[in-house]
């Protein structure tokens, strides 16, 4: 393990600098918006070159298969016809959008930026927890943290052979340029009261894209335009949109959206602008569909999955329902419609009444839940009051799609600050670490 003692001495200074640069996330609590600092722990997660090579292979494979799946679902639907994935899991998914039927995004890419959440078990093996193919966030935090860590302790980086991670902006830019249909690149944000606004603005700065809200873009003559104050306008070729499908275009999706751009989806369907990620991806990152990803890999790529899912059960299948009821206390149950650490309950932590109520709901709406074995994560040390203490942590790896899939040699490691909790989400009080990929 690399010696990081010199670096960790500067944890407080680095957090002060992160505060100075406004590295925050927004949170709504009781209807009130608050900005919070995202606590940083300077002890990095360290991944060896060999371990990363395996992860890289598995992540590329997974994202390739997921892209094939989305294209198939909005196209020929072979995977359904061949009964590899039951159709109700596709068409009942809230992420499936009928409006996307027949769409062919530029260069055939649906998920340009994929955030894949993993955990490492105590024996060192990795498990995929979930796929995020809509608007995954988090890359900016380790990027800026690395910048500050290098300032704090240059010697640590001279001696440890850590792969560069500040190239994320260049990777993102190359993914943006790869699908650009002609024109400038913009990052579309819902606005400063979005939880990830810092990231939107930071990535715009680092990629040289315009950061825009919907009111700054218009559709005219089948193209999308960025409008200047002085009447000049510029054609837009790529939109890295950080707003959800529902709100993207009031003409195609939610009619009451005030933050979208009327007719943008039509321009996209005509091939006159690239939307990153493409609308409709939610059909593939649904927690119910997750169960079928290993099958997709075999079906589309003819390969065995390199990375495993966490052992998962679908109460939708009677056999799995029986197992879930038998082993209820040892499982974690997840509502497929929820995200951000919400809708996750541990069987062992429920009272008798809660358990009875939950089982009744499970029987009534079996499609709504998945159950997973609780993986005994490998804990990572964090510094707390000057002492190293173990905490649960996950890893969000980022895969960007250009000519070829590119796995970023870093990732967002999130940890729980509560010693009894498995929930690592920032919105639930978690912190973050840098992720080092070593050259050896």
């Amino acid at each position: 393990m690399p010696d990081t003692r010199e670096l960790t001495k500067h944890t407080e200074d680095i957090n002060e600098l992160l505060a100075r640069y406004g590295v925050k996330f927004g949170l709504y609590k009781n209807g009130v918006f608050k900005e919070q600092l995202f606590p940083f722990d300077a002890i990095p997660r360290v991944i060896s070159a060999a371990d990363f090579a395996e992860l890289e292979r598995g992540l590329k494979q997974r994202v390739m298969a997921l892209n094939c799946f989305i294209a198939d679902i909005y196209g020929e639907k072979k995977i359904i016809r061949d009964k590899v994935v039951p159709e109700e899991f596709v068409f009942d998914s809230p992420g499936y959008l009928a409006q996307c039927e027949g769409t062919k995004p530029p260069k055939g890419i649906w998920s340009h930026i994929s955030g894949i959440d993993l955990v490492q078990a105590k024996d060192g093996s990795w498990f995929i927890l979930e796929d995020n193919l809509r608007v995954p966030s988090g890359a900016s935090y380790p990027m800026i943290a690395r910048e500050l860590c290098r300032r704090a302790s240059p010697r640590t980086f001279q001696t440890n052979g850590v792969a560069e991670n500040r190239d994320y902006a260049a990777l993102l830019r190359s993914a943006m340029d790869h699908v650009n249909t002609g024109g400038c690149t913009v990052i579309l944000t819902p606005g400063r009261y979005n939880a990830a606004y810092f990231e939107h603005s930071y990535l715009a700065e680092k990629t040289g894209a315009h950061l825009v809200t919907g009111s700054e873009l218009t559709v005219e003559d089948g193209f999308l335009w960025f409008n200047g104050y002085d009447g000049r306008k510029e054609r837009v070729g790529t939109v890295y949109r950080r707003i959800s499908d529902d709100y993207l275009d009031p003409m195609s999706f939610r009619a009451d959206s005030l933050i979208g751009i009327p007719h943008i989806y039509e321009v996209f369907r005509q091939g006159n602008v690239a939307l990153m990620n493409a609308p409709g991806n939610g059909v593939a990152d649904d927690k119910g569909i997750y169960y079928f990803v290993p099958r997709m890999i075999k079906y589309y790529l003819g390969e065995e999955p390199v990375l495993n899912n966490a052992p998962t059960y679908l109460p939708y299948y009677e056999k799995d329902m029986q197992y879930v009821l038998e082993k209820f206390d040892s499982l974690v149950l997840k509502d497929v419609a929820e995200a951000g650490g919400y809708g996750v309950v541990f069987g062992s932590k429920m009272t008798k009444e809660q358990k009875a109520d939950f089982i009744a709901l499970l029987r009534k709406e079996p499609r709504r839940f998945i159950a997973q074995e609780v993986i005994d994560f490998r804990d990572l040390d964090i510094m707390e009051n000057g002492e190293a203490v173990p905490r649960k942590a996950d890893l969000r790896a980022f895969v960007l799609m250009g000519e070829e899939p590119m796995v970023w040699k870093s990732g967002l490691t999130r940890f729980s600050r509560n010693p009894d909790s498995f929930i690592v989400n920032s919105s639930q009080g978690g912190g973050f670490k840098d992720t080092w990929v070593l050259s050896h």
């Binding site: 505060a19 640069y21 406004g22 400063r192 603005s201 700054e216 104050y229 002085d230 000049r232």
Partner: protein, 222 residues
């Protein structure tokens, strides 16, 4: 000159105005604060009247606390600084993280002073951050139009405040000249006729402060 959207033009302009408002009002506040040491409560009246803001303060201590730090008081320094911050944080891609960071630091400095017995010492840090912010805008913002829009906001605000405070003619004249040079380097929409009239008013034998305030406030059309 790159394209700057209407929204960002507005934010850049107001970033300039609010940062200047914080800077100048802290300096003015310092003069009133000095008089308050001898118990001169009239100085609060005079201060509020000069800025055309209501005197809602019940005592010297109340004035210090609420004029500086009350986030619910729309005229407080903190409220104006927060507005500068609200604009700055949405302009990261135009002005850069380093520039944004100095407005952020000013907010931290301001918040850390609440309840401090010697706020004037700490306010110097806020002023230093604003000065660093302005210095950086000159140094690192590559787009001249972006730089100049901020500076026009700053010049408009300064002229507005100086005219309200009825500062000597030479100060008004200098600010009008600086504004005229700066605004001509931007793509901001304004009437040249209004700018010429401002110059005449500033150069006139008897300075027409109220007319200058009206004219300068409506000068830029966003």
């Amino acid at each position: 000159m790159g394209i700057v959207s209407l929204t960002n033009t507005d934010k850049l302009y107001w970033l300039g105005r609010y940062s200047e408002r914080v800077y100048t009002t802290i300096r003015l506040f310092g003069e009133s604060f000095d008089k308050l040491i001898e118990g001169d409560l009239q100085s609060i009246d005079a201060f509020c009247a000069s800025l055309n803001i209501p005197n809602i303060y019940t005592s010297g201590d109340d004035f210090v606390e609420r004029y500086l730090f009350d986030p619910e008081n729309p005229d407080s320094v903190l409220s104006n600084l927060t507005r500068a911050y609200d604009n700055a944080m949405t302009l990261r891609e135009e002005i850069g993280s380093e520039c944004v960071s100095y407005i952020q630091l000013a907010i931290y400095a301001m918040n850390s002073l609440r309840g401090n017995e010697s706020p004037m010492f700490g306010l110097q840090k806020v002023i230093d951050d604003i000065l660093a912010f302005w210095g950086l805008t000159d140094d690192i913002i590559p787009d001249e139009n972006v730089r100049n829009i901020i500076k026009v906001g700053k010049r408009v605000e300064r002229l507005d405040l100086y005219a309200r405070l009825k500062l000597p003619q030479k100060d008004i004249l200098r600010e009008v000249r600086r504004l005229a040079v700066r605004i001509s380097r931007t793509n901001l929409q304004y009437e040249q006729e209004d700018m010429d009239k401002l110059k005449d008013l500033a150069a006139a034998e008897k300075t027409a402060y109220d007319e200058i305030v009206t004219l300068v406030d409506g000068l830029v059309k966003i």
